[in-house]
């Protein structure tokens, strides 16, 4: 059995379970669900190399598939990492502020930009994926699979990231209001 800290670091601890449903659970679920793709991609790449050297017959779909599997995880990882609030930031000053100051600054700057970026992403990716769907676009590689399902993943990922942006705002808002009530 691993220590509690190790488990909680990736959202396997009890802390997550105890709280009632919140938006973070969506982010946790998406990350854990799609992380299985790492295992699939590992096996698929291994299989591809074996096919090439042992059976001398490389597959036509191997290359595309491993790219798609990994590409999906990049997009889905964004929301998952956000539930831990661990997106890389410069914390020279940030780490010295109180929790309340951090929440206020985040509400004014970070969260607004986060929301803005997610909004633009949802808007742009959905029109772009829709156009691709309308012309039933294919990848244009040897395997040539339809490409719009993969493009739709970016739309889904952006929407899920937007959910996490709201979750972050709610959390920061709670921190700010709670303290005010406690002090008065």
């Amino acid at each position: 059995m691993k220590s509690k800290e190790v488990l909680e670091e990736v959202g396997m601890g009890n802390k997550e379970r105890r709280r009632g449903f919140n938006l973070d659970h969506i982010g946790q679920l998406q990350g854990k669900l799609f992380s299985i793709f790492f295992l699939v991609a590992t096996m698929q790449v291994t299989l591809e190399v074996i096919m090439r050297y042992v059976f001398n017959s490389p597959t036509s779909w191997g290359l595309d598939l491993s790219i798609y599997l990994c590409g999906v995880t990049y997009v889905m990882g964004g929301g998952y990492t956000q539930t831990f609030n661990e997106h890389i930031r410069v914390d020279i000053f940030y780490s010295r502020w109180s929790e309340r100051t951090r929440a206020i600054v985040d509400l004014i700057l970070g969260d607004c930009l986060f929301l803005f970026v997610c909004g633009i992403l949802v808007w742009q990716s959905s029109t772009w994926a829709w156009e691709s769907f309308l012309i039933k676009e294919t990848a244009g590689t040897v395997w040539d699979p339809p490409i719009y399902p993969f493009k739709s993943i970016l739309v889904l990922g952006s929407v899920l990231l937007l959910v996490q942006a709201f979750s972050k705002i709610v959390k920061d808002f709670k921190v700010v209001t709670n303290r005010t009530r406690g002090n008065s």
Partner: protein, 435 residues
């Protein structure tokens, strides 16, 4: 020119306010695109992200992180540490030497400085302090050795550099290996000489404790064979051109799973921990890359990049002066920014300058990473020192770590000078590679 200055100004202001890098860079990229070209230009963002998602080279990042996670969570790294310590104990300064060697091996397995420093700090530091090693030497060794994580392949930073500037990732890996070995060798030589001259810094392990029967030693050695084989297989298949770097990392991950299964440490919990941990790291790295790609796309399209290149070239300075100046900028940025971000932001700006000055981009890529080594250790914001502080005992202060790191920073500058005087140290291995 004003666009360029404004973009960087906002960038630094927002970063200092603690806004995550991914949102800072992408928001600035989007806002400037909106101002300069209107809403029609925004599909640019999606296209840049799409490039990253569809990149075959980048699949090395998740697969390699997964490999490291499996090895760390299945206890393979612990075995490695034990074996190295038992073998290196009986020489003066031997534990510090063992720590550097361990860092170099972990670098080939884990590939992120955070993981490297944390694991070494947890295991090696109490060990060295217990045997009365000098505190500063012990701390400096770990901070500097851990930073090798980005230089010794397979390194995530080389993958990102290779993709952003379109150079061969395999060649970067192999070139980084030469540089990493030279730098590690310098550290080892320094520790051995210093402990020989001042035996009180690294005393011998007491006889009765240090004595382990040779049969025991051999058993420990067989325990680490699988992971050593794994490292050789990953690097060897890249060097001999048997697999692309991305495929080699995938094979490494499969090998790590096999290693864990053979030692009966592969269970549901280990697998879940590794998978989820990988997801978190991938989410962190890739969104920094996405954001920086958007930023750079706007930056380049606005003509700022070529303006900057022309400006630097019009100065007509000696090319080495420009190179050293660029390295100085990297050092300054490295003190505050995350290294993955520095590469995606700076490589597209600096590499065209470097190329037009007649330098080799592979060589510059490796040199770039050696500069980042320095950035990891330098106060006031050496990330390596921060990671170490987080796991060090209370009486080891940040000041102690910086003081201990200082000799190693001097060695890094020596190494940078060596690589600039003799570019072949870096370039000889990539030239021998199978094309």
């Amino acid at each position: 020119m004003s666009t360029m200055v404004l973009m960087f100004l906002f960038f630094f202001l927002l970063l200092m306010a603690g806004v995550p890098m991914a949102w800072t860079t992408s928001a600035i990229g989007i806002i400037f695109a909106l101002i300069l070209w209107g809403p029609d230009s925004l599909n640019l963002i999606v296209l840049r992200i799409w490039d990253v998602m569809g990149s075959f080279s980048l699949i090395g990042i998740p697969l390699f992180v997964f490999m490291g996670n499996v090895l760390a969570h299945s206890g393979t790294t612990d075995k490695l540490l034990k074996a190295i310590y038992v073998w290196m104990g009986p020489i003066r300064g031997g534990l510090a030497v063992a720590t550097v060697i361990m860092c170099m091996i972990l670098a080939a397995i884990l590939g992120t400085v955070g993981a490297d420093v944390t694991i070494t700090g947890i295991v090696a530091l109490p060990f060295m302090l217990k045997y009365k090693y000098d505190k500063h030497l012990a701390l400096g060794t770990i901070a500097a050795g851990g930073a090798l994580g980005v230089l010794i392949p397979p390194s995530i930073l080389f993958i990102i550099y290779g993709v952003t500037v379109g150079e061969s990732i395999g060649a970067l890996f192999i070139g980084g290996m030469g540089a990493g070995i030279v730098l590690g060798g310098l550290y080892l030589a320094y520790i051995l000489v210093r402990c020989y001259l001042q035996p009180e810094l690294g005393p011998l392990v007491p006889k009765e404790e240090g004595k382990v029967p040779i049969s025991q030693k051999l058993i420990l050695l067989t325990g680490i064979l699988p992971s050593m084989f794994l490292i050789l297989a990953v690097l060897g298949s890249i060097f001999f051109g048997l697999a692309t770097p991305g495929e080699a990392d995938g094979l490494g991950a499969a090998g790590a799973l096999v290693c864990a299964a053979v030692s009966r440490r592969l269970n549901w919990e280990t697998l879940k921990l590794s998978l989820f941990g990988t997801m978190k790291t991938v989410g962190m790295i890739m969104w920094v890359v996405f954001g920086a790609m958007v930023f750079i796309a706007t930056f380049n399209l606005s003509g700022s990049a070529s303006l900057l290149t022309n400006f630097v070239l019009s100065l007509e300075l000696n090319r080495w002066v420009i190179l050293i100046f660029i390295q100085f900028i990297l050092l300054c940025l490295g003190m505050v920014l995350d290294v993955a971000g520095i590469i995606v932001l700076c490589a597209p700006i600096f590499v065209p300058i470097i190329k037009s000055l007649g330098f080799d981009p592979i060589w510059f890529g490796v040199l770039f990473n050696v500069n980042l080594q320095l950035a990891y250790l330098s106060p006031p914001f050496g990330y390596s020192a921060f990671y170490l502080k987080a796991v060090a005992p209370k009486d080891c202060t940040l000041a102690d770590i910086y003081r201990g790191s200082f000799p190693f920073m001097v060695l890094q500058i020596v190494a940078i000078a060596l690589f600039m005087l003799f570019p072949d140290i870096i370039l000889i291995l990539p030239r021998l590679m199978a094309k």
